[in-house]
């Protein structure tokens, strides 16, 4: 959802700038004509860009929709209930597929990657943001200490829920490290696969193209 909002913001701002550029070149337009061209583009401030937000959990979708409403996003967004291992979309449909902190919770990651490949258009890009592994030994020990000693305590004190946060830090450790995940993405057919570490590897962004 949040990524969808950022995408929409970006498209809108790019089109704003394009519109401004266009108007700059037409110095002798009347106020009427200027107003009209703004109105026209307001309706299509996104142009043909669309975002589909998909989640397996209805409640998550509900929260996303509420947030979108609160923030004033209305057009270009659709919300679909679906399973990443079996997406309810046709082949070759999307230019970009993004998944943030979601793929860790998928039972068969390989299936999710295959589905991502299937629904992307040729030339489309796969982007995954996920917890990953810290290779620096000292930082890794500090990170482990914080993860296992502090996070479940915070979960208990703030949310009254130790077990969910214990599960969280364990599931992070179970997820394949950067290189292994990169190989899995290549296995699904993606090319030019690469990754970028954030915060020394606590989080990584993996990218691949369907070519």
């Amino acid at each position: 959802g949040d990524i969808a909002f950022r995408f929409i913001n970006y498209v809108c701002s790019v089109r704003e700038r394009q519109l401004q550029q266009k108007l700059k070149h037409h110095q002798n337009l009347s106020w009427q004509e200027i107003a009209e061209s703004y109105l026209e583009d307001k309706f299509k401030s996104l142009g043909d860009s669309q975002v589909v937000v998909c989640d397996i959990n209805k409640e998550m979708l509900k929260v996303g929709k509420q947030k979108a409403q609160q923030l004033g996003y209305s057009e270009g967004l659709s919300w679909v209930l679906g399973n990443a291992e079996e997406l309810p979309f046709d082949d070759d449909k999307f230019d970009v597929y993004t998944i943030a902190f979601g793929i860790r919770n998928v039972t068969r990651i390989d299936l999710a990657l295959q589905e991502a490949y299937r629904v992307l258009k040729p030339g489309g890009r796969f982007l995954c943001l996920e917890f990953s592994h810290v290779s620096n030994p000292l930082f890794s020990r500090l990170y482990d200490l914080y993860s296992f000693q502090v996070i479940p305590v915070l979960g208990e004190v703030i949310a009254g829920d130790w077990k969910s946060y214990q599960y969280l830090v364990e599931s992070i450790r179970r997820f394949p490290p950067q290189e292994e995940f990169m190989a899995m993405i290549e296995d699904a057919g993606f090319l030019k696969v690469d990754y970028q570490n954030l915060n020394l590897g606590i989080v990584a962004i993996h990218s691949g193209f369907k070519l």
């Binding site: 000693q149 305590v153 004190v157 009254g160 130790w162 077990k163 599960y167």
Partner: protein, 252 residues
Amino acid sequence: GRARLSHTEPRARDGLFGEEEEEEEEGCYQLYPGHIPTSPLQKALLAAGSAFMALYDPYRHDMVAVLGETTGCLALPNLRDKMKHHPEGYRILQERPRIRLSTLDMARLRGLPDGSLGREYVRFLEDNKVSPDTRMPPKFVDDEELAYVIQRYREVHDLMHTLLGMPTNMLGEVVVKWFEAIQTGLPMCVLGAVFGPVRLSARKLQVLATELLPWAIRSGRNASCILNVYYEQRWEQPVESLREEIGIFPPP
């Protein structure tokens, strides 16, 4: 504290395995249902966090419970030993009675004569709209018998209210906490007793300081260990007689 790494297969929740697996943490297994083994560092963090949260949001009863469990490492063995060396307390440790709606015969208790422990206990529950089933089960006590001791202490709390004649408002709770602090020595009770009054009005503070506290303290010191009373076998006993037997002075 040491960094703790899970060396065995972590508990599976995503359906990979057939059933939940017991997890080995800190070298010990789950000692009782609901037990979460914790390292000393985690206990310290929990104690600090729960103390802060309990003061910040008084409706977080679970935090009061966690505070009691994480700080009771000296007081709980003490209480257990007191129970072991007393005939009635010893029987309680053996038989492990639980005070729960499912184990109480509410109709029978309601039918008992006024002034009896059972009748007054039910009256207390109804007047204050509380239930014995809202007591948290222990999670962070690393000894199965001590877990029962703290559970017993929690379930007996409402009977303390009944014996002391104190309602469940802030003032009443503070008075009971003072009594319990002297009786049990649990740091959580001491903290509650000391910091609870912070939320009281000046008028109530005055009543507390001049009448209720001196009586509660005297009673607490005079009374025998309240965990050594098999309350479930004394429902018919008049409250006044039980007070006298334990050593609680009549409330002001």
